[in-house]
């Protein structure tokens, strides 16, 4: 029983992490119908920046996290303004090729600068080890992830539901043409959201070094996970991707624990079955129109 609860806890932490990593992609796909396979590269950038700051510059971990967010967002907005925006009207094939190219470049570049081995971030002592809560083993680091990601999710939901920017964004997602007809500057809304999504990915990358492992092949290894979250969750709200991430996280942890020999088999089968059953994603409208 306690093993199940511990697994559930780990799965939730994993799922939350996936959500923070992938929700930027949901917006990119939903708003601009843009297939961005390079999303993981921004996460990797954030992770490596955090690692360098903590390990080499001696920054405290919690000070490095916001910087991972800011720098990934900065890289995101620069690339969006210089490269990405030319491709919104292109075919999906062009977008796929372009972003695969970017991914390859980021993998080789990080390999060149940082080496190909896995990177660990030195964690403060307060985050290491685990404690028992009613017999359930709770990892401190995972608990922190759940708290941070949970707060972020609530904040995102509030921003989307309550603020003016949120309603502009939702309008633009629902119907970009009508939204721009109403005077909403859709490209600007998109640029902001893109940068914010990249920032979140960067933060997620920094947080995930401990759990998912951070090496130059990160964008390729986890690309499929991000895509699963988005295609299964849909993009009409952030609840869809959120639930999809939780499902994926819990499913993956449980799959690895109970049927370790099947490896990633469980996840891929689940994804294909869901896509056959509901080609438009589990929750509402699909990301791509």
């Amino acid at each position: 029983m306690t093993a199940i609860l511990t697994n559930l806890f780990d799965g939730v932490a994993y799922g939350m992490l996936l959500f923070v990593l992938a929700c930027g992609l949901a917006v990119t796909l939903g708003l601009m119908n843009f297939v961005n396979l390079a999303h993981g590269a921004f996460a990797m950038a954030g992770g490596y920046i955090c690692a360098v700051l903590v390990n080499q510059q001696g920054w405290p971990f919690f000070a490095a996290l916001p910087l991972a967010f800011v720098s990934a967002a900065a890289i995101g907005i620069v690339l969006e303004r210089t490269l990405y925006r030319h491709l919104y009207t292109r075919s999906h094939l062009d977008q796929v090729l372009f972003t695969i190219g970017l991914t390859f470049m980021s993998v080789a570049a990080v390999d060149y600068i940082q080496g190909s081995s896995r990177v660990f971030i030195n964690l403060p002592a307060a985050l290491q080890g685990q404690f028992d809560l009613f017999g359930v083993g709770i990892g401190r680091y995972r608990l922190m992830i759940i708290i941070i990601c949970g707060l972020l999710t609530i904040a995102l939901q509030l921003v989307l539901a309550k603020t003016r920017f949120g309603s502009r964004l939702r309008a633009a997602v629902d119907d970009p043409r009508a939204a721009s007809g109403l005077g909403i500057n859709v490209p600007q809304v998109f640029a902001f959201t893109f940068a914010f999504g990249c920032g979140l990915a960067g933060l997620g990358g920094a947080l995930s070094a401990e759990i998912l492992g951070l090496d130059p092949y990160f964008p390729l290894k986890f690309m499929i996970y991000f895509l699963i979250v988005v295609t299964v969750g849909g993009s009409s709200s952030i609840t869809g991707p959120f639930l999809a991430s939780l499902l994926l996280g819990i499913g993956d942890v449980a799959g690895k624990y109970y049927v370790p020999k099947m490896g990633p088999f469980v996840i891929y089968t689940m994804m294909i079955v869901i896509l056959i059953w509901r080609p438009n994603g589990l929750f509402g409208r699909t990301a791509a129109r």
Binding site: L87, D94, V107, I224, F265, I272, L275, T286
Partner: protein, 342 residues
Amino acid sequence: MSAASDVGYHAQRHARWHYGEVAFWLIVLACGFVFPSRYLIMTDIVRLALFAMSLDLILGYAGIVSLGHAAFFGVGAYGAGLLALHGIINEPVIALVVAGLAAMVLGFATSFLVIRGVDLTRLMVTLGIALLLEALAERFSNITGGTDGLQGIEMQPIFGTLAFDMFGKTGFFYSVAVLFVLFLLARRIVHSPFGLSLRAIKNNPLRAAAIGIPVNRRLIAIYTLAAFYAGIAGALFTQTTAIASLDVFAFERSADLMLVLVIGGTGYLYGGLIGAVIFRILQEWFSTITPQYWQFWIGLVLVVIVLVGRQRLHRWVLFVPNLIIKQVAGRKAVVAVPEGDA
């Protein structure tokens, strides 16, 4: 001239063999005699060309974007490897066809998943299938040899007479022969009414359905055929290198294949063949400059191609040849840019 016969006339004119095509194949054959020390890399190019042609059939003609074409390549590779390793079918040509058929069965089974949904769902499903097969191959390591791959494959002579030699001469001519036969088949198919209906589907599925083309059935047929081609390419890989490892399913293989096709251009069959040559030369060149980081430059090539625009790039490349053709054979013989946008 009525509209129908006009269309027929143009279709037939396109289907006729041009001098350029004959010259192309003569050059391919001549390469086998001119560079006897380079058989291994030339065989590699021929295999890649066949694989790219397979993707061209679904991407260039039917407009299906696939990120997991390596799945069929892998099934063909392991199929041929297992057949040879356990001595089930010793004759390479029959084994080749059987391995291709195995991939074809998988292609047929998965085509029903692929024709559902939009581009993004297709990307995901094709990618998912390739990853799934990779996971399966790793899981059943008692059959596939796991991460070590299939080892100790010994190929029997082709037709019982032509033995594979260590310089790869037999392998090269064998691969070229297979490529040529399959090319003839593909050429026949894409110029048939069936092939023309595929183009109609690619341009506008709704309109194609409205004029009575059974869209889904056509897509299933071409996807299955492309899977057969990819399976043959995979089987050739195993037969000429005598190894099959997990990386036959790798995502990089599918991604590289896209690049090959993009370099060569889609929708006229030669794109894959020309692209394979250029891609391999580029790869060799990059890996001599930076052995470990050649992927960076491959990525850069992709980004630049997309930013410049594929159509424009092909126009530039064809500019000089067209100037010459215009002088020699008149204005009408100019090579047009293939209408290759998917």
